[in-house]
Assembly symmetry: C2
Homo-oligomer: 255 residues x 2
Amino acid sequence: VSEGLEITALASFPEIGRGDRLGDLIVDATREANMRLHDGDVVVVSQKVVSKAEGRTRQLADVEPGPRAESLAEQIDRDPRLVELVLSESRHIVRAETSVLIVETNGGWICANAGIDASNVPGDETVLLLPEDSDASARRIRAELADALDGERPAVVVADSFGRPWRLGQTEIAIGCAGVIPVDDWRGRADSEGKRLAATVIAIADQLAAAADLARDKTSREPAIVIRGADRWWTAADGPGAAALQRPADRDLFR
Amino acid sequence: VSEGLEITALASFPEIGRGDRLGDLIVDATREANMRLHDGDVVVVSQKVVSKAEGRTRQLADVEPGPRAESLAEQIDRDPRLVELVLSESRHIVRAETSVLIVETNGGWICANAGIDASNVPGDETVLLLPEDSDASARRIRAELADALDGERPAVVVADSFGRPWRLGQTEIAIGCAGVIPVDDWRGRADSEGKRLAATVIAIADQLAAAADLARDKTSREPAIVIRGADRWWTAADGPGAAALQRPADRDLFR
């Protein structure tokens, strides 16, 4: 029997505002739970609190849709102000259908509406953009944790829920990480029969995000989850980040 | 702090042959680990052992490729015998490119090569097909567990690793389940601000499969993982199975 994984949701945070140090709030919440974070631990943080801390909240009333947004909004039957924000956050439209815009974001993520979300945000006309660079966000939160933990450096994953082609339902995936191997490449290693493993590249950071979500109550404000027992993917260096999970366009049959 | 999740890989099984009762082997392995399974527990079982127990092993030497397989094999530069098997296991080709066949399987899964795999299978010319109906497999394993556990009915998820558009690396997903809510639909419920959650449908069974994979050593023969603390998705009835995760073609922009 391998040593197992333990996944624990930390207590809710207060409502997050621009400039809040999430690392400090995470350490406060672990202390409340009589838990001390160490090297080897992984903290999965919800994109929403990261975006809020980075001031990525926008008021639809402040958005002036341009002609391209007006026309696209009419085509897909959505609010032209939201479409304007989606376009400004995107470098490429993958699909535009009634009420759905699948885009490639400026940060390289392919998702609906550039990841812009209105749930769990106060105010009817308030929306939240993705962090501009969520790998940088993960590195910053990790540095804040190390400051508050006398140099212990748990890994950080920034997670968001994305839909998928072919399968119903959303899963949490990683849009940022620091201190964790995002993609574990087993190609060339031997399987249990001694044969080379042909296609085994495992999206570790995405699986960490998915696992963390199971420990959380979706309607609560539990924005940080601690995973213990995933030490084998922990690294002292921040590493390549979740950008390593982005499939290059020339190896992608579906964009 | 919510009660957390505990994920434990069970000890390796002996090599599985046609007709083996996986439920009995799982219960034996839990006893070795001084663990007793109960209602509310979830056992994630690797597709490979399920397919082996169901006699889904094939010898390439026994396969006679037809003209369609020969022509497609030449187009994509793969073994025509493998392509013949992929075609016989599929109802629709989604993409055919050099060395890659993305298909919709007879069971409704969209994946590379109809999920046919040659790693972790003894013999150079031996391949393994997906179970014919992996929800039925999950129900059967669950019934075997209940037999061996005096009526306790842990849930069962049959997991396989699939690649994804847009993102590198494979993640484990559910191709079968029994006794677990596969898709948790939060639409219409309120978020933490009291607003309706618009698009929150969570692929629970896929996240359980992904979480389980993190507790496993990929080269070992650890084919069964126990997840504790996911009781809120456990059901006494076997339920709709992982088929509920299949996105209907008319709601899919990518096939």
